[in-house]
């Protein structure tokens, strides 16, 4: 401590330490934007069609659902937990809501039903994780299969066809206002709302506190279980909404339509700079991660790269993101250590 009080210019020193840390975290979102720009620029140079109205719209539509799921997932990951069941929830909701709409339900009740199913799934996950103290990985891996099973049971081999769905739903999936499609609009509104809540509200900051140190959060009187439950509830609700949007976008839905998406969502979250160990990151980063993964997919198609490469590239990106995080964290820790000792 004497170190701090006897520093020649303590304020200036502290500020430089802080701006360093700030830079590292802002650098993540910045580097994502740069990577995106380079990718888009490079691809457009090879094939200008990539930036045509249709091309951009496709990317936005494809990103919307993934980003929505990534926003929900990042809330869970920030609390040092994980939700592997979102893909199954999307599939289940898409099918059940599709069934309901095909049998004459209105659009609004349909959306409400979808979100309610998602909320129920999230509630189950949250209760098991926060109150029964079962590790999140195990709980959500279990519910992944349970929800999938329920979906197969409900579907019984059938599929939902676009022709049976109300036109209002399909226009939600493919329509636009002032040239901007509804889907990404919905995602952006929700992303900003949640991002603002997490940043500006005391209870929002508590999600970060829990992920940063669960024990300290408990001692500080943070209602840890309630917040973790809330994170799963939000993730579930957004997965439910994503299920309805999935139905609106694709129209034709089979029982296991979104299988495997949970891993894509988690990749987007991690690439977007949310630490898998909790406490660090933002929903904006997660959404940017989703956009980057989608753009890579689109670019590979335009560049006529074998689509099998897409998964390999997603994986490589994930590893790079995690390695960069780790290296930066060590660097920052070392620098801060040095400052506090020898400063």
């Amino acid at each position: 401590m004497t170190a701090t009080t006897t520093r020649p210019e303590p304020a200036a020193r502290d500020r430089s330490a802080r701006s360093l840390v700030d830079l590292v975290f802002r650098a993540r979102e910045l580097s994502l934007v740069l990577a995106l720009a380079a990718l888009v620029g490079g691809t457009a140079a090879v094939n200008p069609n990539f930036l045509s109205g249709q091309g951009v719209e496709d990317i936005l539509l494809n990103t919307a659902i993934l980003a929505l799921l990534a926003v929900g997932q990042s809330m869970v990951v920030i609390t040092r937990n994980l939700d592997l069941s979102v893909g199954s929830v999307v599939g289940l909701v898409a099918f059940v809501v599709g069934d309901a709409l095909a049998s004459g339900w209105g659009l609004v009740p349909g959306v409400v039903l979808g979100i309610a199913i998602g909320a129920a799934c999230g509630l189950l996950n949250g209760l098991l994780v926060s109150f029964c103290r079962v590790p999140a990985l195990v709980v959500t891996l279990g519910t992944l299969y349970v929800f999938q099973g329920v979906c197969h049971y409900v579907a019984a081999g059938r599929q939902i066809n676009a022709v049976n769905l109300p036109p209002a739903l399909l226009s939600l999936g493919n329509g636009a206002v002032l040239g901007v499609p509804y889907l990404p609009l919905i995602t952006v509104v929700i992303m900003f709302a949640i991002g603002y809540y997490l940043r500006a509200y005391p209870s929002g900051r508590e999600f970060y506190a829990i992920g940063s140190s669960p024990e300290a959060a408990r001692l500080a009187g943070v209602p840890v279980r309630r917040r973790v439950l809330a994170a799963y509830l939000v993730s579930g609700c957004l997965a439910g909404l994503a299920g309805v949007l999935w139905l609106a976008r694709f129209g034709t839905v089979v029982a296991d339509s979104a299988n495997g998406w949970e891993l894509l969502v988690i990749s987007a979250v991690v690439v977007g700079g949310v630490a898998i160990t909790g406490g660090v990151g933002s929903v904006y980063g997660a959404a940017l991660g989703a956009l980057l993964l989608t753009v890579i997919g689109g670019a590979l198609v335009v560049l006529r790269v074998n689509p099998f490469w897409q998964q390999a590239i997603t994986g490589a990106l994930l590893l790079i993101a995690i390695s960069v995080d780790r290296v930066l964290a060590l660097r920052v820790a070392r620098l801060l250590r040095r400052r506090s000792r020898h400063g």
Binding site: M1, T5, Y201, P202, R218, S340, R341
Partner: protein
Amino acid sequence: MSGPPALALANVSKSFGAVRALREVSLELFAGEAHALAGENGAGKSTLVKTLAGVHRPDSGQVLLNGEPVVFHNPADAQRAGVAVIYQEPTLFPDLSVAENIFMGRQPRTSLRRIDRRAMRARSAELFARLGVTVDPEQPARGLSIADQQLVEIAKAISRDARVLIMDEPTAALSGNEVARLFSVVEALRGQGCAVLFISHRLDEIFSLCQRVTTLRDGAWIASEPVGGLTHDDLIRRMVGRELGALYPKQDTEAGEVALRVERLTREGVFTDVSFEVRRGEIVALAGLVGAGRSEVARAVFGIDRWDAGAVHVDGRPLPAASPTAAMAAGLALVPEDRRQQGLVMELSIERNIGLTGLRSLRRGLTISRAAERDRARDWAVRLRLKFAGLGDGVGVLSGGNQQKVVLAKWLATGPSVLIVDEPTRGIDVGTKAEVHRLLSELAGQGIAVLMISSDLPEVLGMADRVLVMHEGRITAEIPRAEATEESVMSAATGRAA
């Protein structure tokens, strides 16, 4: 001191498994008084603090707030009742800023109940000004020194306008100046009618700050009395309840050749230029405050952490960096500080735990021989006088002292030439503590070089042939047994001698 106490415990008992941490303890904290809680390590002080803080709920007995019985279901309940706690180990959020750490859960608000960041920053700066220190409220808590972290904890507690302030060894990592500042703040709070419970093993601090003192020994209440009529010796007698000598039976042994030599070992920002030797038959204590870098040195020597510069020799041969396997092969053994997390596999049985370090030697053909494992465990259980029902029982059911014996057995079974023990008797009852001491002394007598890290000063003074003292990552003093006193060790540990 009229009216009911602001906060009180009445006949509170609390057990963890077989360990009775508190037995029928009563304590009364009055508004406007600073009350000291004295007792040895493991006497139940931290359990008492956590009971007042709502972390633990008493098995029997009551917590009384202004004379009325209350039940704190969680720390939030206690905080709402006006109880603020500074824990021994800082409990901060490393990823969040200092200001956020201070105000978590009760941030100043603007319109729409949003966080008022500017006010939060300003009020944090105000708090630090009141404490007379410079800490940047915007800095993340990660990277703060232990002392700075402790100051953030203190700022946090003061900011609560608490009616009861509990401080569990708040001064352990502070320098003399900072302690003086803290005391003047505590005096001011006391003047405003705040009740203060103060825990410290520096007796001088108790005598200068507090009006009354309550002593605990082995979880039981011994006395509550005014500080005025007491001497240091009176207080120590109440804490220890016996003559010091009997507890620390270090036999005099002839020191043999050098078994462990550490030369200018440095790990950037953690410890610097650490050099020392430990000879066969010697017990060398590594003393210092929490966060001085003692455990970190042990971890680096054993190869858990990498060192940046320097060298380690065992029996004259250099040890490669960052390889626990090589360290074990060279004859090093490390009994870690945290036996539950690092020393034992709590789910496994006693015999399995003891067998862990020698799986290769227990092999018969391709598989591990259960019989050999059991023989080895039984052998060590008898030699260490382990108290157990069956060797197949999980180590989780054993008392702290017996768990520590299992960890010792596990490492002694490797036949080490150098034994490093980190806080060997933390959280162990007095009876078993004496046995652990007897054991360490015997091992030294058999020619093992023992390096003992300990925060327990009487233990250091009683057991060690030589005392090395660390302060902020450096060895600041080497004191032979004859000259080692509480004062000489503490002044080196707080950097006053250096």
